[in-house]
Symmetry: C2
Subunit: 254 residues, 2 copies
């Protein structure tokens, strides 16, 4: 009999945003596979083994976890946020799909979590209150031309856009280029939210109009949310601005 | 001084998928405003007051909660799933935006949660593993023509699509029409997931090819996820199929 293979999300990093279901999966597991900052969020017992790995090694990590689960060990693959959004659940499925037949028999349990865009949205109001999309800006795993095409189309479709993986040392220009593309279609005053480390002590929320948005306001821990033409900003005396997208769409865009 | 106004999400309904942060907001609140099935998910104390209302009364409910918070009461507005996704956080912001100036001074705290599409995705594999969008199929709040346009564009852009509010007694034909539109562009074998009541005792997960997808498989408690042309199904001996969208996009769609 195989062990269980849990794939969990820790949420954005605030322990209060991790679900009891994810905590129980942690308690039930013996070995932990993940990017080390995510594993470090867990309070593991001395008998629980950490197998930390680097950011880019998702497939190897998934294969290592499947090998151990097949050997009968209860293992936990750890993602930040939600494991199904640009994270480890897909990597585990890829490994199962291409791997030995016995990996298909592993008892896989994916545990959902609070993904970054939801935590950022909550801190700032309700920018995802109407139709929206989530797009990874990383061109490591897909051609940049596809990303450009998608940005143009979702923008024309009027969706709010959450950008994951907006920038890194190896990908310094993509976010600036994305802003350029969006400026071709969206009004200059469209609110852009730079939501960094939502819910964590080093949280930083910044709102600025698309016309002035600069890529260097983001880092690897940032989720960038770009409003639609419907998105509104509410100024509040003595409090940060609220940003929200109304549930109602007036019949003007036809 | 005003009271706090929490806007929380209970998650999809399984108490294990509600965050400690949301539970603490419940403990700190005296009056609860929400659609009654969501309020019923909470274990309230005898001194905590329920102000339940019907599904369609979001704006009235938000205004009532703001009035009480302005009077100094700690109130909690309750959504299912995540409060920022087609739910009460936007309604509260709309009420603040259009309401009396003093509502802008209310201490608003939005608490994120696990939204339905994430819970459904987790139960079935990783269908949201690559770029995706969330679209409400309700034409109560936006013209149907806009919904059709958005479906065509996100489909052409290659995004996985999560449909919220797919069907109701008052909106019986929209989901069938959406499937027709998507069939014009997507291959007939594209997986469609009918994810009902994920994580609850009455959960029902169903996967079928778009070519055979029928609207009557969905009800009001269903989130429908439609794959992209990249989405794959893994058959497993003795276990339900896994559905996932690879993180990697091959350079063929140019």
């Amino acid at each position: 009999m195989t062990g269980k293979l849990f794939v969990i999300g820790t949420g954005p990093g605030n322990p209060d945003q991790m679900t009891p279901e994810a905590l129980r999966a942690v308690e039930a597991s013996s070995e932990f596979f993940g990017y080390f900052p995510y594993i470090d969020r867990l309070n593991l017992r001395p008998d629980q083994i950490k197998v930390a790995s680097d950011n880019r090694e998702e497939l190897n990590r998934a294969q290592a976890a499947l090998t151990r689960a097949t050997a009968g060990v209860n293992v936990c693959v750890v993602s930040g946020g939600d494991p199904g959004v640009f994270a480890m659940a897909a990597a585990v499925c890829e490994a199962i799909d291409a791997g030995p037949e016995e990996w298909k028999t592993v008892d896989l349990v994916v545990v959902p979590g609070v993904t970054a865009m939801l935590a950022v949205a909550a801190r700032i109001g309700a920018p995802l209150g109407h139709d929206f999309c989530a797009i990874s800006l990383s061109d490591n795993l897909k051609p940049w031309e596809i990303i450009e095409k998608r940005l143009r189309m979702v923008c024309e479709a009027g969706l709010v856009i959450a950008l994951y993986n907006p920038i890194s040392k190896a990908r310094p220009w993509q976010l600036g280029k994305a802003f350029e593309i969006l400026r071709e279609t969206l009004p200059a005053e469209t609110p852009v939210i730079f939501g960094r480390a939502a819910g964590r002590p080093d949280e930083r929320m910044l709102v600025m109009p698309l016309g002035q948005a600069e890529a260097d306001r983001a880092d690897m821990a940032t989720c960038v949310v770009i409003g639609s033409p419907e998105t509104r900003v509410i100024a509040r005396p003595g409090l940060p601005d609220l940003v929200y997208t109304p549930r109602f769409l007036r019949d003007v865009s036809r």
